[in-house]
Point group: D2
Chain length 351, copies 4
């Protein structure tokens, strides 16, 4: 069976999900819906996506300015098995009723509350509990990274307590008019920030507290963690726990990957679509263990990290793949998810 | 005949030239040379490029850290017809002797002086004069854009005098330690800045003066021009002159393409390698004509604009293609150079 | 007579005007009005300014959170001869009726249209025409700088035509949530930008066209000008014309003043309040003349440049000083306006 | 006795120390030494500081360009009791011998190692141990803030363990050519970062680990701390411990002080020289306590925080004041150090 998918919201996440769905062998993308009439939605049309108007007003507006409209959101919902809702925060929850009415399963994003769907999703942690459900919520970029990394250590029996500081990007790189901050840092107004509690919607037993701040850059978040381990452990044990989990890749300062933008440049050099990084990039040579405490820092490419999770969530809801590991393997192979970005070093060569 | 090409210098320009050479049907990329031993050159190896050590010291250093080395620059020069020198400013001119000694033709970049090669190159302006030469210099990103745009107007007999202000990016996006400026603008210390005179190495009759400043961003330059026309002209005449030249694309504020970073995002959405834009992007709906004066602004994507010119320069030196227009057409088709980035608007559709 | 002044709007401009009014020997500051209830207005109270509520709602809100309120705007207007309106763009024009009703003269800022008051003001250009009027508008920071510099050259009979490019700061340095742009340049959507025509509200005979863009910094604008002179002139003649006008200071690249932020640091070192620069800072050693064309660049410290003009406008409206030059001299002496920021060099000293 | 002081190094710290020394009733500033010949040292001369050449080469260079030179560093050392060395990192330690030879006591800055002087200084923690010494080292801005805050909690018997993340500014605001980073975050290459161990040079019993990163802004650092308390405590107890220590001020998100740049703007509004903040600014309403853990964030104004400590260190070395609290009180009164920046709220007023 080929899963018929629609994407509602052609923004930072939606456009990446659309590309990823199109690449999957077991999925068909039937179209994208939005309310925009500008270059973004016209680009979608130029790429051959069916463009649907998300509202009646958008339908009128799109037709007026000459966007080739394939129909309304209702038309799109009539044709699909699953809709991925990547509309903005305030809009998404309100769409739930329309999806239910159309009998369409729905994947929401981390901007929505857990209560909207009653299920929060990170593939490696709880794929199986989403199988056959009508809806789920792929948690946010930050929360996804937390579940991947802390979940890996919890799975290995190593994690007692985690305290994190999240340096977030301020706004998206293609965005020039909204959300920019300049020459400052903006701390979140309360502690704990929401990401820690949010991770517990997926891993209820995590003992986690997060603090967060926005810094003056546009691409990717940088997390710093102090981890209380369940026992004194070696650095190698901690690394092994991370190696056992999917979608975590190692980078190294000693390779010259010394800053968020360097990693972004590496992704561009690797020929990835839009320079995306789906993996959590953990600095292997910065990770440090002292007795029963571990300290680490990693990079979260917020524009793309939830894309593979979203693909898996589609499969889980439809029940076409019931084994999370199998879905993850398919998704990661098609996208090109990696554990290391650089080739292995060769034996010292004679000149 | 397939042209055998080597690239010396795997940096911002070199890596893009390497990719473009590999894509051309009439070229073979035999390897890239560099002195780095870090992620950059290891990425090149991972992408399947033969990696050559640009110096004996680099040879030793690369082997020590396990980079798979295919040989030295001398080895590379032994195998190629043309080398593209994309090494840093101070280094490139010094390589000329080595290239001559190896009997290899060489394309230099705009960081070098005109005197180094005695010939400066922009394909649409003077391809033919480079045919069969041993060396040429593809002019810098800024100068290339000036020659394309002002050259088009000069060609149409419209341009009497051009006065430009260039808002330059401060450093490259993947670079975190060198050249960054923060929360400031840095005007060039003298007027005219060098780009105006540099354009006259290609178009000697241009009456052009430029002023320049670095602003606090990393991607692409923004030029503003006041043009004294030879006679009162209509806006449509000026646009037609631009439409007649290659590698100029139109963008529009009315499409929501309102800032440099929006255009960069569009390139990413179009699936271009590294989000590159090879075209000069002229804001069509900002261009304004009043009597015998025209005013316009355009965007120069400095990381990639000289790549198609470099490909053409390779062909010109070897003499395999003697017609500039033919070379341009091949290059642009393979790369996917465009005149418009968005699909045409459809007739107003009935709902 | 001491002029009784109120300031309506305690923002970037208003707070500076309040300080300047307080410093003038012939003025009394009777209070500032605003609608804010946060640190800004509480700071005003802490500095000993009488704080008035600009609206009934603000009155309630201020009292609720414990701001010491001296009364309402109406109360303030009852006590003053002149009000300086430094409220935001959309608000200011609507206040005119209230000022008229209270029989209070009013100085508006450049965010308002010329039509609001029918008179636009730059002290050196048209002080005398404002004497005794009920209202005037101090033009914006950019326009003020244009009138000072181009006006000086026009005054000297040197200026035929001016074409300028304005690199503007994106938002104010204390502002973190509104107006920020990141890693981009945002060109104005049409040419000419409004500053050129706006300068003609003060100097009707100027032949001036401006283009503008916002760059990614927060402090001060950077203008670049191509000037068609009425005749071939020497560099010294052009400099002399600038020296003859007030509120223009010279800076030099050769002194290491190489960027906007360096000049800002100099102002801080000079002990100026808030690091303000009231002068247009012209790079003396960048200014260049070729035949009958001159090229120059200068820096406009947008937060403060209109403060001395506003002080002069207060005097002009009240008619207490009828000679513009006298008012300028007083204002500049009290504020500490300068022509040079560095001490003169001494004769080469023996060691 | 009036302490005769010289400042060697007129940079970001040196110029502030010079101003502060000049303001102290018990100190005389006899001059500043530097090697620069540009606007910075000429500004010092313009402010009436005696300018001394720090090296023979600088002496020649300064005289050549017309800086009024009062003599060499040796001449300055001949006249002073104490020199404050604020030269760059690599330079300072090398000066120690010259100071010893001249019989002059010396205060170094945090860029030097503890071993250089054998004593590290934060006034509130260990003033008394510096009394009468020949040299001491005022620790860095980050370390000073750590000692102030963690030391206060340790003093109150509340602190068991501290784990911190430091978001540092990338370079200084007046600096345009060195150290800038753009659109990125640069994590320190190893954990722990040096600030934690450095704090133990003053407070040897601290159990502290720090991680650090540079973010893309120029003014002030932002620290986030997870504190293991010795016992469950109330939020009020933690606040009281901070209130008991000097040079800590409280700010609040609820007052609209929501970001680093907002606080900087507040300092400018308060009329402080250069907009300096000498206090550690702790966000009172963000500080949170859960059982035996506390979480807090504060702002470190790196350009000025060590200035009061440096003043105290001068007194300690000379032994003119043997009681640290007395020196702190004098310094803070003269500078205007505060515990709160906003006036207290008034009782709800009737309208």
């Amino acid at each position: 069976m080929t899963i018929k998918v629609g994407v509602n919201g052609y923004g930072v996440i939606g456009k990446r999900v659309a590309d990823a769905v199109r690449a999957m062998p077991d999925m068909d993308l039937l179209g994208v819906a939005d309310v925009a009439t500008d270059w973004r939605v016209r680009t979608a049309a130029g790429l051959g996506f069916g463009v649907f108007a998300a509202t009646p007003e958008a339908d009128t507006a799109m037709r007026e300015v000459g966007v080739p409209v394939s129909g309304t959101l209702t038309d799109l919902l009539d044709q699909v098995d699953v809709v991925v809702d990547t509309t903005p925060k305030r809009v998404a929850a309100g769409n739930l009723e329309a999806y239910r009415a159309a009998g369409v399963k729905a994947v929401f994003q981390g901007g929505e509350s857990h209560a909207t769907t009653g299920h929060s999703f990170v593939a490696q942690a709880n794929y199986e509990t989403a199988v056959g459900r009508d809806t789920t919520r792929v948690v946010s970029c930050n929360t996804t990274s937390i579940v991947r990394v802390l979940g890996a250590l919890q799975q290995a029996g190593l994690l007692a307590r985690a305290r994190g500081v999240l340096i977030r990007r301020a706004t998206d790189p293609g965005e020039s008019h909204h959300g920019g901050i300049m020459n400052t840092v903006v701390p979140e107004a309360s502690i704990p920030s929401h990401q820690g509690p949010d991770a517990r919607t997926v891993l209820p037993d995590l003992d986690v507290v997060t603090m967060a701040a926005k810094a003056a850059h546009t691409q990717s978040h940088n997390h710093f963690w102090t981890l209380q381990l369940t026992r004194p452990a070696s650095r190698e044990e901690v690394l092994d726990a991370l190696r056992a989990a999917p979608r975590i890749a190692f980078i190294r300062m000693s390779d010259g990957l010394t800053a968020l933008n360097t990693t972004v440049e590496l992704m561009r050099d690797l020929g990835r679509p839009r320079g995306d990084m789906w993996e959590v990039a953990v600095w292997e040579d910065v990770l440090s263990v002292a007795g029963d405490e571990a300290y680490l820092t990693y990079q979260v490419y917020n524009e793309a990290i939830v894309v593979p999770e979203t693909i898996d969530a589609i499969r889980a809801l439809t029940g076409t793949v019931t084994d999370g590991a199998a879905s993850i393997a398919t998704t990661d192979e098609i996208l090109g998810v990696r554990r290391e970005f650089l080739p292995e070093r060769v034996e010292a060569m004679p000149a």
